[in-house]
Assembly symmetry: D2
Homo-oligomer: 144 residues x 4
């Protein structure tokens, strides 16, 4: 895998400093690995993310998909925090048991203005997909 | 508009009791109106929902879209809390200023097993769309 | 409704001349109405569009959704034939009987570089939706 | 790869017999490979599929994505021609030059009632993606 422009610890430091609403001690996100073209991100289990039926709620899974795409893009283009999601499509495939989730983001396209990502989400330690998302990020002009 | 199966206050009471992770005093959701076939839901502003650029983050908007669809469906079919999202597609159209958001859900289809919703999200008091989502919910068999 | 930049007959003339692969005597498309911000397009019935079950096939419906969005955008920005779809999401809601289909496109956003459309598709003369799509078109720089 | 329930030649024979509108001598589809969980399908080049700019039109690519998913599902569950698409989301990533396209479908989920597919589309002989789709098919009850 090609080296990222920003390493995992550097990204975590920048995100904590400039996007503290989503990346703080209690938010549960941990960057496991980044490379040029993708990222793996863990979301620790929190009881506050459960929904009726005892599974993890949709918004928690969508937030993880969005965060993993953001991290995979920033790892590939450098620190452009104003990159924003323009489209996200997600299919929920299996109800996850209470536990940590792992999202793996792969960039399908990295253009000057748009990046398109594929995000696969699994329960930690399991093979089957919990959810699958594709999303598009808009990169501000002049930032690459 | 046709009368809902469950009124707004009844829905808020049930959601607070059985889905307290998402519907609690501090979650900011308020059901403004429900009818058979849709709902309007408000999400009050919270500084914790901001992202770089000073706008409201994508996951906050996605959560509102999902919640508004859930409420629009339950208002139309009655209390079936195990209804779950199977697909959500969202386009982010304009960056919302810090402030409350209003989501309006309309059911495009209400079948025995699937409901498909259209959700329009605006900043409170404004006409332009902030985001537009479509989502599909699976209704457990035997619940209707 | 605000007047379109290009009228229906002018659009049909341009499309037949410069996009004859899709707009020819036998393709079945008819522009019913255009305005600044949208269009209504008819697709006549052809037996070649049927699929097992006797309903109209998905690709025929997707082509109509895409064409209606293209026409709604060109009616609003003028003749920019190199505008291209970047994303399309479609939900198939009811199986259409053999017969003509009507697509109604409404622009949700018309920016300098991107246009986002909502497309509702019905069987001619019926109220219920057959399908609902949202799509994003990229507008080449300098064309607006 | 696990053996398919229906082999490629058997599927082509059945499709030609029962879905001749889409699978005929001139439609350009060729099943390259099927397995339990997916398929690779080729769509030969036809000048009738071009659009302004000299690239292959969106509807041609969408039709290929839908057909590849259909074939991947039937290869995995057997001859259930009444399986129908309920949702398709597609991102167009690069404009394909005139030439054949190859779609590779992988099932992300194969349930009793729903199958969810990931479809990657490339120009023949090239690595980069032209388009990426995810789609959901509904399988009629009692057919599996």
């Amino acid at each position: 895998m090609k080296a990222p422009v920003l390493a995992a610890d550097e990204l975590e430091r920048l995100l904590s400093a400039e996007f503290p609403q989503a990346f703080h001690a209690d938010s549960g996100f941990k960057i496991l690995e980044v490379w040029h073209g993708g990222a793996r991100v863990r979301r620790g289990f929190k009881a506050s993310g459960l929904r009726p039926g005892g599974t993890i709620s949709g918004p928690v899974i969508m937030a993880l998909a969005d965060v993993a795409a953001y991290i995979g893009i920033l790892a590939s283009i450098g620190w452009v925090p104003l990159a924003v999601t323009t489209n996200l499509n997600i299919n929920f495939l299996r109800k996850p048991s209470p536990g940590a989730l792992i999202a793996e983001c792969r960039l399908l396209k990295l253009g000057q203005r748009l990046a398109v990502c594929d995000v696969a989400i699994r329960s930690e330690g399991q093979e089957d997909l919990v959810a699958h998302a594709t999303s598009t990020y808009s990169i501000p002009p002049g930032e690459r």
